[in-house]
C-alpha cells in the first residue's frame, strides 16, 4: 500500500465513519431515553435511500404507502385505547389522535399524488424524503413500544428484533429485491497535492458535523431537549416534574428516524442500497455505540470513525473478511468495557 491508497482508504473510512456516527448517536439517544435497543434503526436508512431513488427516477415513492399503512394501524390502535378508557371517550380525543397520528401521512400521500412525478430539485427531494420517513419513527414507537414502556430491556430488545424482522419483510414488499443508487449531490473534486478529495465525501462529513452540532444545541439549549435529557438521567424523576414518557419516547424515535433517513440520503450515492442493507449499516453504528457503552455520545462518535476506518482498511487487505473483522471488533470492546466498568447489579423485574 502506498500513501495515496492509504489516503483514499482513510477518506472512505472517514466518510462511512461519519454515517455510522449519526446512527450511533441515534442509538445512544434512543437507548438512554427509552431503554430500547433500536435494532430497526437501519431500516430507516433503506427507506430514505429508496424514497430518494424513486423521486429521481420518476417512480411513485412506495414509502408513502408504508407511512400511510403505519399511520392507519397506529390510529386504529389509538382509537382502541381511547375506547378502553371511559374518561377519554370524547370527540376531542379522537380529533387529537387524528392530528397527531394520521394527518401527516395523509398530507404526504396527498402531496405525492398531486405533485409532478419527476424533475424535482435536489433540495425538494430531500425535504420530501424526510417528510415521508421521519414520521415513521413515532408511528413505530406507538405501534410496537408504547404499550411496553415499562417492560424490561430484554423484552424491549426482543421486540426490536421483531420490528426489524417485520420491517425488512415490508421493505422487500414495498421496494422489491433490486438495489438502488442515487445521483451524487456534487461532482466537485479537490486536488490537494497527490490527494484527491471528493466533494461528495466532504458533503457527508459536513452534514454529519452540522447534525451533531444541531443535536448538541438542541439538547443543551432548548426546553424539549433538556426534557429528553432529564428522562435519560431519571425516568421516574422526569415523570414527576411532568415530562411524559410517551412524549419523550416519540421524540426520541422521531430523531432516530430522522438520523436514519439522513444517513440513507447521504449513503445512497456511494453504494447500492438494497431493502435489507440498512440492517448491516445500522449494526456497524451499534458496534460504535457499544464502544461508547450505549451512554457516551463523544466516545460513540469516535468509535464510529474507528469502525469506518477499520472497515475501509480491512476491505483493502482482506476484503472477504471485512464484515468478520468489523463485527469481531466487538469482542475486544466488550472485554475492555467489562474490565473498565465497575461491577454492578441489575435490579430489573422481568
Amino acid at each position: 500500500m502506498d500513501l495515496s491508497i492509504a489516503a483514499i482508504l482513510a477518506q472512505d473510512g472517514l466518510t462511512s465513519g461519519a454515517i455510522y456516527a449519526l446512527l450511533a448517536l441515534a442509538l445512544v439517544l434512543v437507548f438512554s431515553i427509552t431503554r430500547v435497543i433500536f435494532i430497526p434503526q437501519g431500516e430507516f436508512v433503506a427507506f430514505g435511500a429508496f424514497t430518494m431513488a424513486a423521486l429521481q427516477s420518476g417512480q411513485f415513492p412506495t414509502a408513502v404507502w408504508l407511512l400511510l399503512g403505519l399511520g392507519v394501524a397506529a390510529f386504529v390502535m389509538e382509537l382502541a385505547a381511547i375506547a378502553r378508557q371511559p374518561e377519554r371517550r370524547e370527540a376531542a380525543e379522537v380529533g387529537r389522535a387524528f392530528v397527531h397520528i394520521l394527518l401527516l401521512p395523509l398530507v404526504a400521500w396527498g402531496a405525492s399524488q398531486l405533485l409532478p412525478s419527476s424533475g424535482w430539485p435536489m433540495a425538494l427531494q430531500v425535504v420530501f424524503t424526510l417528510a415521508v420517513v421521519v414520521p415513521m419513527g413515532p408511528l413505530v414507537y406507538r405501534l410496537a413500544y408504547q404499550p411496553l414502556a415499562s417492560a424490561s430491556t430484554l423484552v424491549l430488545l426482543i421486540v426490536s428484533v421483531g420490528v426489524h424482522y417485520a420491517l425488512t419483510g415490508i421493505g422487500l414488499l414495498a421496494f422489491g429485491a433490486e438495489g438502488v443508487r442515487t445521483e451524487p449531490f456534487t461532482d466537485l473534486r479537490f486536488e490537494i497535492g497527490a490527494l484527491s478529495v471528493s466533494g461528495q465525501s466532504l458533503t457527508v462529513i459536513a452534514a454529519a458535523v452540522v447534525l451533531i452540532l444541531a443535536l448538541y444545541l438542541y439538547f443543551g439549549r432548548t426546553l424539549s431537549g433538556k426534557a429528553l435529557r432529564a428522562t435519560a438521567v431519571n425516568r421516574v424523576g422526569a415523570q414527576i416534574v411532568g415530562i411524559g414518557i410517551t412524549q419523550a419516547g416519540r421524540a426520541s424515535f422521531l430523531l432516530a428516524a430522522a438520523m436514519g433517513a439522513v444517513c440513507g440520503i447521504l449513503i445512497a450515492p456511494f453504494t447500492t442500497i438494497y431493502y435489507d442493507s440498512g440492517f448491516l449499516i445500522g449494526l456497524k453504528g451499534f458496534v460504535a455505540a457499544i464502544i461508547g457503552g450505549l451512554a457516551s455520545y463523544p466516545v460513540a462518535a469516535a468509535g464510529s470513525l474507528l469502525v469506518g476506518l477499520l472497515e475501509s482498511y480491512a476491505s483493502f487487505w482482506a476484503s472477504a473478511y471485512k464484515e468478520v473483522i468489523v463485527f469481531t471488533l466487538i469482542l475486544p470492546v466488550l472485554l475492555w468495557r467489562s474490565l473498565a466498568s465497575p461491577h454492578h447489579d441489575e435490579e430489573e423485574e422481568a
Binding site: 411496553l148 430484554l154 426482543i158 424482522y165 419483510g169 468478520v324 466488550l334
Partner: protein, 588 residues
C-alpha cells in the same frame, strides 16, 4: 413424570409407524432439530433472563465441525460430535465470560455481532467450501445400520429432544437450578444465598450452545450437506421467536413454539407469494408482527393457553417428594452467648461528597436482638448493605467473629454464617414455598449442573428439601409448603424470607425492615417468631422503622441520624435520650 410426557412419547413413537406422509416426517425432523435449540433458549431466556440471537451460529459450529471432519478427514461422525460440542463450548465460554460482568443487554448484542461474523466466516473459508458449503457428508450409523431415510433419523432426533427435556427439567428442579431460576429478578438475592451468579449464567449460556451444536450435528448428517445460510443471523432470530412464541418459561413451550413457527412459516411461504403476487420471504412480516403482539399481550407465550386446554390431571405437577428419612445437614458450631459476633468499627461510606454512613461503631453479641433505628434517610439501609457486602466501605472495618468481612462479596459473607432478608421481598412467585426456602440451602449442598441433569443428586437433594421443610416448620409455614410463593400474604412472605435465611445455617440474622407494611397481627406473629429464635440461640440485627415493634422486642438499640451514631443502649434508656427525641420528633 406426568401423563402429558408419556402421551407425548407415545405419539412420537407411533408417528413413523402410522402411514404418516413423508412430508410430515421431514417436518417433524426439523421441528425436533429446532426444538433442541429452543430448549436451550428456554433455559437461557425464559428461566435465566438472558438471551441470545446467535444460537444459529452454534448450530453452524456443530454442523460444520462434523461435516469437515467426516468429509475432509474421513473420521467418524461421533468424533465430529465431540469436536463440535467442544468448539461450541469454548466459543460460548469466551463470549459469555466477556459479557457476564456487563449489563444484561450486552450478551444479546454480542451474540448478534458474533452471529453475523460467523455467517461471513463460514461463507469465506476455503476449507469450509465458502458459500457453497460442504456436501457428501456420510449418514450416521447406529449398530451398523446407516440412518439414511427420514424415519430412520426421526427416532434419533426425538430421542435427543426427550433427553434434552429431561436433562433441563432435572436441572431446573435441583440445587443449581433453583439458583438459575433466581437469576431473572436480579442477582442480589441469589448472591445473598451464596450462589455464584456469574458462573451460573455462563453455565446456562454454554449449555444452550451445547444443545445448539448437537442440533447442528444431527442436521448435518440428516441433510448430508451444509452451507452458511441456515446458520445466519435470521435463523438465530427465528430460534428466539420459537422460544418466545411458545413460551420462554416452559420446556414444552420450546417444542410447541418450534412446531408452530416451522409449520406457520411453511404455510406462509406457500400462501403469501400468491396473495401478494410476488416471490420473497414475506413470512418475516407475519412472524415479526406476531412476536411484537405476543410480547404486548401475552408475555409468557402461547404454551400457558395450550396447557389450559388440557385436562387438569394431565398437567398437574407432581408435588416434590420429601424423603421421610433424610439425614439432617451438618450444622456449624454455635457461638457462646455473649461473645461479640458482629463488630462495626468506624465503618464509613461516602457517595461522592455525601457521607451516608459516618464512622459508625456498634456491636451485636451472640444471643441478642439488636435494633438499628433512625429516621428516614439516616443511612440504616446503607449500613445494612455495608454489612451484607452489597456496598463497599470507603474506610473502616466490619468484623464477624473477629475477622474483617467488609468489601467481601455477599456470597462469602453468607458462607461465614450471616444470613439476610430483604426490605422489598425477593421471592420467586411462581415457585413453591418449599423451593423458595430451599434456595437458602444452596451453600450446604454441592451437586453441580452435570450431576443434577443426570439425577445423581437425589440423596443430597432430599436432605436439602428436608432442611427447607424443617425450617418452614420452625417458622410455622409448613402447611403452605406446596403453594406458589406469590400467593402468600406479605406477612407470610416476610416469614418465608426468614425461613430461607435460616436455611443458610446462620449464627446471625440480618433483617431489613421486616415489619414494614405488615398488619398488627402479622407484626405480633413476627415478634413472637424472632423472640423464639433468640431463645434458641440465634442473634438478630434488625433495621427497622417501627418504634413500637423494636421497643418491645430488642435487647439493645442503635440509633442513627444523618449517617452518625447518636445513641445506643437498652430500649427504655434510648427512648428517653434527648438526641433521639430530637431526631424523631424534631425537638421538644
Amino acid at each position: 413424570m406426568n401423563r402429558l410426557f408419556l402421551l407425548f412419547i407415545a405419539c412420537l413413537a407411533l408417528l413413523p409407524v402410522l402411514p404418516t406422509p413423508e412430508f410430515w416426517i421431514t417436518q417433524a425432523n426439523y421441528i425436533g432439530l429446532f426444538s433442541i435449540v429452543a430448549i436451550g433458549l428456554v433455559l437461557l431466556t425464559g428461566v435465566g433472563g438472558m438471551t441470545s440471537f446467535g444460537q444459529a451460529a452454534f448450530v453452524g459450529l456443530g454442523a460444520y465441525a462434523t461435516s469437515y471432519l467426516s468429509t475432509a478427514l474421513g473420521v467418524s461422525p461421533w468424533l465430529g460430535l465431540l469436536a463440535g460440542v467442544a468448539v461450541a463450548m469454548a466459543v460460548a465460554f469466551v463470549l459469555g465470560a466477556l459479557t457476564m460482568r456487563l449489563s444484561g443487554h450486552y450478551l444479546p448484542l454480542g451474540t448478534i455481532a458474533w452471529g453475523l461474523s460467523f455467517f461471513f466466516l463460514f461463507g469465506n473459508m476455503e476449507m469450509l467450501g465458502k458459500f457453497d458449503g460442504i456436501s457428501g457428508i456420510p449418514p450416521l450409523e447406529l449398530f451398523g445400520h446407516p440412518l439414511r431415510a427420514g424415519e430412520d433419523i426421526f427416532y434419533l432426533i426425538w430421542t435427543v429432544v426427550v433427553l434434552a427435556v429431561v436433562a433441563t427439567q432435572n436441572l431446573l428442579n435441583s440445587r443449581p437450578g433453583r439458583a438459575i431460576r433466581a437469576l431473572k429478578g436480579g442477582v442480589v438475592m441469589a448472591e445473598a444465598m451464596g450462589a455464584r451468579t456469574a458462573w451460573l449464567k455462563l453455565v446456562c449460556f454454554v449449555f444452550a450452545a451445547v444443545l445448539a451444536s448437537l442440533s447442528g450435528w444431527l442436521y448435518a448428517h440428516m441433510q448430508r450437506s451444509v452451507n452458511p445460510t441456515p446458520f445466519g443471523l435470521n435463523a438465530g432470530i427465528e430460534y428466539l421467536f420459537m422460544a418466545v412464541i411458545g413460551g420462554a418459561g416452559h420446556v414444552w413451550g420450546a417444542i410447541f413454539g418450534a412446531g408452530l413457527v416451522t409449520v406457520l412459516k411453511d404455510q406462509l411461504q406457500s400462501i403469501l407469494p400468491h396473495l401478494l403476487g410476488e416471490a420473497g420471504n414475506f413470512e418475516t412480516i407475519v412472524l415479526g408482527v406476531l412476536l411484537v403482539v405476543l410480547l404486548q399481550y401475552a408475555r409468557n407465550g402461547l404454551w400457558p393457553y395450550v396447557a389450559e386446554l388440557m385436562p387438569r390431571r394431565w398437567r398437574r405437577q407432581t408435588q416434590l417428594q420429601l424423603p421421610a428419612d433424610a439425614a439432617p445437614l451438618p450444622v456449624r458450631p454455635r457461638p457462646t452467648t455473649g461473645e461479640a459476633l458482629l463488630e462495626v468499627d468506624g465503618a464509613r461510606k461516602e457517595f461522592g461528597g455525601l457521607v451516608a454512613v459516618n464512622d459508625m461503631r456498634f456491636e451485636v453479641k451472640a444471643g441478642e436482638i439488636v435494633g438499628l433505628i433512625g429516621p428516614n434517610g439516616a443511612g440504616k439501609s446503607t449500613m445494612f448493605n455495608l454489612i451484607t457486602g452489597v456496598l463497599e466501605v470507603t474506610r473502616g472495618e466490619v468484623r464477624y467473629r473477629g475477622e474483617p468481612i467488609q468489601n467481601r462479596p455477599s456470597r462469602e459473607i453468607v458462607s461465614r454464617g450471616i444470613a439476610r432478608t430483604f426490605q422489598h421481598v425477593k421471592l420467586l412467585g411462581q415457585m413453591s414455598v418449599l423451593e423458595n426456602v430451599a434456595l437458602g440451602t444452596h451453600l450446604r449442598g454441592e451437586a453441580g449442573v452435570l450431576r443434577s441433569m443426570l439425577r445423581l443428586n437425589r440423596e443430597e437433594e432430599g436432605r436439602l428439601l428436608a432442611e427447607a421443610q424443617r425450617q418452614l416448620e420452625r417458622v410455622g409455614l409448613a402447611h403452605l409448603m406446596h403453594e406458589p410463593a406469590g400467593s402468600l400474604a406479605l406477612g407470610q412472605q416476610r416469614i418465608l424470607e426468614i425461613a430461607r435465611a435460616l436455611c443458610c445455617d446462620p449464627a446471625l440474622l440480618l433483617l431489613d425492615e421486616p415489619a414494614a407494611g405488615l398488619r398488627y397481627k402479622e407484626k405480633q406473629a413476627l415478634a413472637e417468631l424472632l423472640a423464639k429464635l433468640r431463645s434458641e440461640g440465634m442473634s438478630v440485627l434488625i433495621v427497622e422503622h417501627d418504634m413500637d415493634f423494636v421497643m418491645n422486642l430488642c435487647d439493645r438499640l442503635v440509633v442513627m441520624e444523618f449517617g452518625t451514631l447518636i445513641a445506643q443502649g437498652v430500649p427504655s434508656v434510648v427512648q428517653q435520650d434527648p438526641a433521639v427525641l430530637e431526631a424523631y420528633l424534631g425537638g421538644l
